[in-house]
């Protein structure tokens, strides 16, 4: 007993005062559209279809990047002939809709040379971040205050997201100091933290867990697969896809897997404590 106490005293406090000040060497990729020629190399290299190019008209091309589907593999960074894709140090990404996590740029194609040059960013469909935030705030009606009980549901994940969710409870991140508590039953929960892709075999269990959760139940989708189906795809015989294919999702935390501070950040976004950010700021944005 004495040795246990002395070890604890020697170890001291491990919990980090400012987890969000950590900027790891690799976050999400950022495309410098001014250098990008929409050649589509990155779209071909992307294993999840997070990057797509379209030729809408002969003289207009678009390129879109969705952080919801990005598994942070960095293939787009290494394959780009223009060196237009770089890695950001940003990880605290969370949004209220799948659309908010995507950015689309349009390009003008020179008919003589075939070369595409960046024209403008195309506004995405759906609600803005502030409108979404206001809606969620209204739905919660201040009922959550500064405490949040979370039930985690693995609806098909590879267990990578679970490992990082569990890490948020370790002594270094210590999610309980934010008033967040992981609970054993959906009946005790304010929020479901759901990983995916939702499988056919977990769909019923996921719906029943949701039904067992008292109102206003918040749903947070975690990971590339929870946000979009990720590498496993959507609509296969076994994988339904993103959590929003089955339940209404309030907050998305992309990443493969999202780091512990990104998960903490997303939970605090759901509580209205931190502001949502849809990824590294785009050029000319």
């Amino acid at each position: 007993m004495f040795r246990i106490i002395s070890t604890s005293l020697r170890t001291g406090i491990l919990t980090e005062a400012r987890p969000f000040d950590v900027h790891p060497s690799f976050g999400f990729p950022v495309i410098d559209f001014n250098r990008c020629t929409a050649c589509g190399e990155c779209a071909r290299a992307c294993p999840t279809g997070a990057i797509e190019t379209r030729t809408a008209e002969p003289e207009v091309k678009t390129l879109s990047l969705s952080y919801a589907a990005c598994i942070q593999c960095r293939e787009c960074v290494s394959c780009c002939p223009e060196q237009a894709v770089s890695v950001s140090h940003d990880v605290d990404v969370a949004a209220y809709t799948r659309e908010q996590l995507a950015q689309t740029a349009s390009f003008t194609v020179d008919q003589a040379t075939g070369r595409a040059t960046f024209k403008e960013l195309v506004a995405g469909p759906g609600l803005s971040l502030s409108d979404s935030a206001a809606r969620l705030r209204e739905r919660i009606h201040g009922r959550l205050g500064r405490s949040l009980h979370v039930r985690q549901v693995d609806a098909g994940s590879c267990n990578g997201c679970e490992a990082e969710i569990a890490a948020t409870a370790n002594p270094l991140y210590d999610l309980e100091r934010f008033g967040i508590h992981l609970v054993a039953s959906p009946r005790h929960a304010d929020l479901l933290l759901v990983t995916g892709p939702v499988t056919r075999n977990m769909e019923i269990a996921l719906r029943r867990t949701y039904e067992a959760t008292p109102e206003p139940r918040i749903v947070v989708a975690v990971g590339a697969c929870g946000s979009s189906g990720g590498i496993f795809g959507e609509g296969t015989y076994a994988a339904i896809g993103g959590v929003d294919r089955v339940l209404p999702v309030d907050v998305y935390i992309p990443g493969c897997p999202p780091r512990p501070q990104a998960i903490l950040n997303g939970l605090l976004v759901a509580m209205g404590v931190r502001a949502a950010r849809v990824g590294p700021a785009p050029v000319n944005g």
Binding site: R74, D154, M202
Partner: protein, 527 residues
């Protein structure tokens, strides 16, 4: 290789010319399905073979047949042996080997679930992978089954669990959604008060159709799917897949990449073993070492992040080599951090095994006897904790392990304590391996050149002894050199039946700690 062929031929009682040498350390014997049980007996008794995988392929388009593969590990000959037989679609059945070789039990039922090929004579030919609401006659891994078919649910969702009768005897249903932050699965306990009479497992809740998905991905992208088979084994599975592709393409991985691969897979072993040791402490409510283990694990993940830009080592393995290098300063930093880790880790283990309150809970709990481990074909760390001396790093050498000095620890007890101590001793060996690798890092490129296309209509096996045990990937290409079949075997698929075997006789409150001592993957099992 000559003598290996001769010995295999002699043990199987077949002419030497029928044992083909597909590639280094991979022999093939073509046979008829009817001969499979006798050959399985010969492999197991005459060659000390261990079943490494069993699976089917739909080759009806090319040859009009299905094909069944029994893949055996022959550690004495340092080779794998693939015994393969065609199966006529008009008579979709083959003789089972499960009664004599229980390791084949789930494999054969899975072949039935996904290919509709029946194992004749199987002692329990019921579904293992398909859930009760899946209709009969829909075989997802057949080529004529579209990957995106929406299969309607058949009504009625009640699984016929084994009944319990008698006064004070009842069932406890647990899951699929569990109380902790863990993967989903259903456990059905039959109990008489506290003691467990039996445990039935219902898994495959996280079946994502991964093997079918591989068939639609370009082979280069298959690596990312392999990385996501089981989140805590990203390196193990990615490396097994990369090995298979490299063997198929004849690519020789440069020595520096081989050394870095060893470093990566050992770092994965260390962070997982440390996490499990902490989780065992958590499950017996010994909070101080639990918190210390979590902090130690976080330290390794951050070190991974600092050195390779990824916490759980995703995106480090490349087909043909590795994607991340270590600078001389990085090697030095890793070495220094590992020395500091070792002191802390030793202290943690001492703290645990010196505490009577802890050892009371783990000694003699959840015993898997050596006999049971052998009979059930238990693999990896769990097998070594029950006295089974098997490790692919030594028995089927790959990457830089050939030139490294290390021991394969074996424990005799087979209880939770043994599975804890095997982890502690393996971490010690991993540190030894890492220091050797860091001290003599070869100076070569990181990537082998790869062909644009893979060789057409060929197959290869890749394997890795990951932290849980052997991960094997068998891949096959079609006439265009694209993936036509990928069979993934996760160690958990062998070991789940072992868990169900050891729990009866223990009390319900000991289940979490027994379960954690195996720490099996659901995602790797269910795929």
């Amino acid at each position: 290789m000559r003598s290996a062929i001769a010995r295999v031929a002699a043990a199987l009682g077949v002419p030497e010319r029928s044992v083909r040498d597909r590639r280094a350390a991979e022999l093939v014997v073509e046979t008829d399905a009817v001969a499979l049980p006798a050959l399985a007996d010969s492999v197991s008794t005459g060659l000390d073979g261990r079943l490494a995988s069993l699976f089917a392929c739909d080759e009806r388009e090319a040859s009009g047949r299905f094909r069944l593969h029994h893949v055996w590990s022959l550690p004495g000959l340092r080779t794998f042996l693939d015994i393969t037989a065609p199966i006529d679609p008009a008579e979709p059945s083959y003789p089972s080997i499960a009664a004599k070789h229980p390791a084949a039990n789930w494999f054969e039922r899975e072949v039935m679930d996904f290919f509709g090929l029946a194992p004749a004579g199987h002692p329990n030919p019921s579904r293992v992978a398909l859930h009760d609401d899946w209709p009969d006659g829909a075989w997802a891994l057949r080529k004529d089954f579209p990957h995106d078919r929406a299969v309607p649910r058949t009504p009625g969702d009640f699984h016929p669990f084994r009944p319990v009768t008698g006064e004070g005897v009842f069932q406890i249903p647990v899951g699929p959604v569990h109380a902790g932050v863990i993967e989903p699965g259903h456990f059905r306990f039959g109990v008489a008060g506290e003691p467990v009479l039996y445990l039935q497992l219902r898994l495959f809740y996280v079946h994502k159709g991964i093997e079918k998905r591989f068939e639609r991905l370009p082979w280069r992208h298959g690596l990312f799917l392999a990385e996501s088979l089981s989140g805590d084994t990203a390196v193990g599975h990615a490396l097994a897949y990369a090995h298979a592709v490299e063997r198929l393409a004849g690519a020789i991985v440069p020595p520096r990449a081989q050394a870095l691969r060893v470093a990566l897979v050992e770092l994965e072993r260390i962070y997982n073993h440390t996490a499990d040791i902490g989780a065992l402490a958590t499950d017996v409510a010994f909070t101080v070492p639990a918190a210390r283990a979590q902090a130690l694990r976080e330290g390794i993940l951050r070190l991974n992040d600092e050195l390779f830009g990824t916490r759980m080592l995703r995106g480090t393995i490349a087909i043909g080599g590795v994607k991340r290098d270590l600078s001389p300063q990085g090697c030095e930093r890793l070495g220094a951090r590992l020395r500091a880790f070792e002191r802390e880790f030793d202290d943690l283990i001492t703290q645990l095994i010196d505490a009577g309150t802890f050892t009371d809970r783990v000694d003699g709990t959840g015993i898997l006897s050596n006999q049971a481990a052998r009979d059930l074909g238990i693999v990896g760390m769990a097998a070594r904790a029950s006295g089974v001396d098997a490790d692919l790093r030594r028995d089927h050498v790959y990457d830089a392990y050939e030139g490294l000095r290390f021991e394969v620890p074996v424990e005799k007890g087979g209880d939770v304590r043994a599975r804890l101590m095997i982890r502690a001793r393996e971490v010690e060996q991993s540190l030894l391996i890492l220091h050797q690798v860091l001290d003599a890092m070869p100076d070569t490129p990181l990537l082998a050149p790869l062909p644009e296309r893979l060789p057409a209509s060929s197959s290869a096996l890749g394997w890795v002894e990951a932290w849980r045990g052997p991960c094997t990937h068998w891949i096959a290409t079609d006439q265009r050199g694209e993936l036509t079949r990928v069979k993934v075997t996760d160690p958990s698929f062998f070991n789940w039946p072992g868990l169900a075997h050891v729990v009866p006789g223990n009390i319900v409150p000991d289940f979490p700690v027994i379960n954690k001592s195996f720490n099996l993957s659901y995602s790797g099992n269910d795929r």
